[in-house]
Amino acid sequence: MEGLTIVYLAYTFIAFYFLFIYVLTYIQNRKNIYEIIKPKREYSVSIIVPCYNEAESIGRNIQALLASNYKGLKKIIVVDDCSTDNSYEIIKGYAKKFSKVMALKTPKNTGCAAGAKNYGAKFVKTELIGFSDADSFPGVNSISNMVGFFNDTKMGAVTSRVLVSNRDNTLSRIQSIEYKIIAFTRKLLGFLDSIYVTNGPLSIYSKKAFDDVEGFDEKNLTEDIEITWHFVSKGWKVQMAVPSKVYTIVPDNIKAWFKQRIRWNVGGLQTLSKYRKKYLQTGMLGLFIMPFFAFSWILGLVGLFLLLYRFTQYLMVKFLITKYSIASQVALVQMNQFNLNPSILFFFGIVLFTLGFTYTLIALSYSKEKEFGRHPLRDIFIYSLFYLLMYPPLLIISFFKFAKGKHEW
């Protein structure tokens, strides 16, 4: 057997394994995906909103939080990180009008969301502390659907389901599919105690757990991933409330999208590096989350290299054949060159793609939205065939940035 065939088979095996973990988890827990736990009592909650130059969306965010039907929501602490636009004026306006809203300003720009979040956390006096991005809009019952999970005293964090608010072009529409797949997958990981990120748009933490991990790591580009790993490493539980929807604004141009994804990946690498000693140690962080994270990277990179290697070789041979065929006056293509006997590797690829595509469709069927209707099949195909291929190059660039120590927002 050729070396490349062995690599391909190993790659397929790992991909199948991860896919089957999801499929089995889904089959065993499908009735609990939308579970809501009734809170034993009314837990007091404060929500912190970090804000930097978000004049366009901050008002909508505050209004969404004010509209929450959870009576235990005591404070909405909006922290302006020395914006250069009129964000702070807008925040102050809301604070004047609503006693629940507290307007804060950091002494100087912290340069990252984590800085503003930690600053706001100093003013929290409630049992639970939540965070919501200024460009995100939680639903009316989002908070009330989350707090019941804190009946478990070991619950450290509960995250919500993020959906895309702006769907004006193909890129944002594809992301709306991607976010649903991510949310569905995250819930499945929740059944395995393996949620590896509590998103920025809306997550609620136990204040005790938050203090235990000493807040967000301000040096990390993805403080929401880092804090989640910190919770898990300290034995706190992390869960997700699927019925808690929060709409967010996603990048609608390639440049902004690229910048955001590089930040996510570099932050992921920072976290992986920070917790490297936990690798393969007991607990879900070391035994599953970290290998899962690392394997996702390896799969992406190996896949890209395999694809690039085969494709470059194919193109070079085709180019030379064309060149020599023209020079020798020989037909470029002959009928007998077509091979109608595909290899077993091809069949494995087809099965893997079909299962992956079915998984995508199941995930989407669990995320129906009255507001937006169905996704066109064309968008689902673009997501499955092309969008996912953009991940591996991002990983490579992120890796170089991480290696060079370029960790900036």
Binding site: E2, Y17, L24, L192, D193, L320, Y324, V330, N341, I344
Partner: protein, 220 residues
């Protein structure tokens, strides 16, 4: 979370592993089954071709003693070469799709030996009857070099084209890097310098790609 759920949560990793191994094994087993069946198919064809070759060699031997015409020899040789050419195409197709077993590689080697024997037997008959043309195309089987791959592809297409346009061509493509001692001796006899090479009527040897018309000038 209940104890039952906790248990099922841990089990999912093993269950997924077992299912993956089962599916993988089934896939590999099916793949090996298909490849073995293809090997057997080619193996059967090879046995028939082996018989035809021995038959052809017997005819050649007879022709030395009796009055068998050159036309019969030509027809027998070309028909046989065409037959193994078609089988070689099928073999190549199966070989490309065969990833798990090495059965096809061995069959390829056996076919190369068969074609070498045919080349050798044709040295004699071509000397006696010059009523057909013998083109031996020596190519590299193991080369991964892009330029060699491309050159061989074009040579293959061109020679097939020439063969299809004339009915007096005996085309013998032989992989020259299969470690066959008889073939290696033959190559040194012809002083073959590099591969790919095209030997026309056991006289002219072409190394560089030429255009079709230029190659045809070597054919009477």
């Amino acid at each position: 979370m209940s104890g039952k759920m906790l248990k099922s949560r841990k089990n999912v990793f093993w269950e997924a592993l077992i299912i993956t191994i089962a599916i993988f094994m089934m896939g590999l087993f099916l793949g090996i089954l298909i490849e073995t069946s293809n090997s057997n198919k080619i193996g059967d064809l090879f046995t028939q071709s082996e018989i035809s070759l021995v038959d052809g060699m017997a005819i050649l031997k007879l022709s030395e003693e009796s009055n068998i015409s050159c036309e019969v020899l030509k027809e027998q040789n070309i028909n046989f070469a065409n037959k193994i050419y078609e089988e070689a195409k099928l073999l190549e197709e199966y070989e490309t799709s065969g990833k798990l077993t090495d059965g096809m590689k061995l069959l390829h080697k056996k076919y190369d030996l068969l074609r070498t024997l045919l080349w050798m037997s044709n040295q004699e008959s071509l000397e006696r009857c010059s009523n057909y043309n013998l083109i031996v195309y020596l190519y590299s089987y193991n080369s991964e070099e892009t330029n060699t791959k491309a050159t061989q592809n074009v040579w293959g297409k061109m020679l097939l084209d020439i063969k299809e346009n004339r009915n007096d061509i005996l085309l013998l493509p032989i992989a020259a890097d299969q470690n066959l001692t008889s073939l290696d001796i033959l190559l040194s006899e012809y002083e073959i310098e590099s591969i790919p090479a095209v030997v026309i009527n056991n006289k002219d040897i072409l190394y560089e790609l030429e255009n079709k018309d230029s190659v045809e000038t070597h054919l009477p």
